[in-house]
């Protein structure tokens, strides 16, 4: 779910862009340093980027007569790092806005914070917490990716509630309304994305790919 062009008041659009900007700068710095250290890192970024491109384009029917799409961010964040995925996710959003007229340019900052930043960092945080609790890698990855997906949509609900809830029903009640729209649709997709991430991870583990070890 991307906030469409023009559907955020300009102050909120600007504010979220300012929130996203340091993460873009950090991510670009990390990518530059890692590619300089090892040029083959470009291929790892390509693989993660391809995964995000693929999953974020899959408009899948869900329950309640609606559809949505997974994000693909969680898997890449756990494998490569949240800083790098902040940039990769934003590039996908830019592509979708410019080529597919999906999402927006003024809302790019808000969409990037929801998907590329919160999604990435949530995935890594949940993965590390699950591993610290003694869970094996596969269930940890499943939880990380599924919760990351849900966190993205929860953030979008919060952004919209912050923009439109203040003068009406209140931010909390408005956020619950938006969560009611996203949550029912997104929950089965988040679980499916978690399972897919585990499947892809197992596939790569059993092949001699030189993907970087998990960030945890």
């Amino acid at each position: 779910m991307h906030i469409s062009e023009g559907y955020l008041p300009w102050k909120h659009a600007l504010g979220w862009t300012l929130v996203a900007a340091p993460f873009w700068a950090l991510g670009l710095r990390r990518i530059t340093a890692s590619v300089r250290r090892d040029p083959r890192q470009r291929l790892e970024l390509g693989a993660a980027g391809g995964f995000v491109f693929l999953l974020s384009a899959l408009k899948l029917p869900s329950v309640a007569g609606s559809s949505s799409h997974p994000t693909g961010i969680g898997w890449g964040a756990v494998r490569l790092g949240p800083e790098e995925m902040g940039v990769v996710g934003t590039m996908v959003l830019v592509f979708q806005a410019l080529v597919l007229a999906h999402g927006g340019i003024t809302t790019l900052g808000a969409n990037a914070v929801a998907m590329a930043v919160v999604g990435s960092w949530t995935a890594v945080g949940v993965f590390r917490a699950a591993r610290w609790c003694g869970l094996a890698e596969d269930p940890s990855l499943f939880l990380a990716v599924a919760i990351s997906d849900l966190a993205t949509y929860a953030t979008t609900a919060f952004q919209l509630a912050l923009a439109f809830g203040g003068n009406h029903a209140g931010v909390g009640a408005t956020m619950l309304r938006f969560l009611g729209i996203f949550g029912v649709t997104q929950l089965p997709l988040a679980l499916a994305e978690g399972m897919l991430a585990v499947f892809v991870s197992r596939l790569l583990r059993s092949s001699p790919l030189s993907l970087r070890e998990s960030v945890a």
């Binding site: 300009w10 384009a57 609606s66 003068n167 009406h168 790919l209 030189s210």
Partner: protein, 90 residues
């Protein structure tokens, strides 16, 4: 993973993918959460006037579906190509 299992999984993925493509092309995918969210914004804040839409559009839902298919195909190609290159020793 045994070769038989790998083939089974690959075939299952191909069938699922074909089913999804047919659903997308035939327009059978129901309304997205983006549309529902836009509606809800206007319901929650009836005074709000959305800013300008993007000056370019895809024209029709069929073209939009086709472009998303292309994005998915491009992503899959990039993923497979990158994975293949990573397997190739330097």
């Amino acid at each position: 993973m045994s070769p038989m299992r790998r083939w089974t999984v690959t075939l299952a993925c191909l069938l699922l993918g074909a089913w999804w493509v047919v659903r997308v092309v035939s327009g059978a995918i129901p309304r997205g959460t983006d549309d529902l969210a836009r509606q809800e914004v206007l319901r929650v804040a009836p005074d709000f006037r959305p800013g300008g839409a993007l000056p370019w559009s895809l024209g029709s839902s069929e073209v939009e579906s086709g472009m998303f298919l292309l994005q998915a195909a491009g992503g899959l190609l990039l993923l497979v190509w990158s994975a293949h290159r990573l397997r190739t020793p330097t």
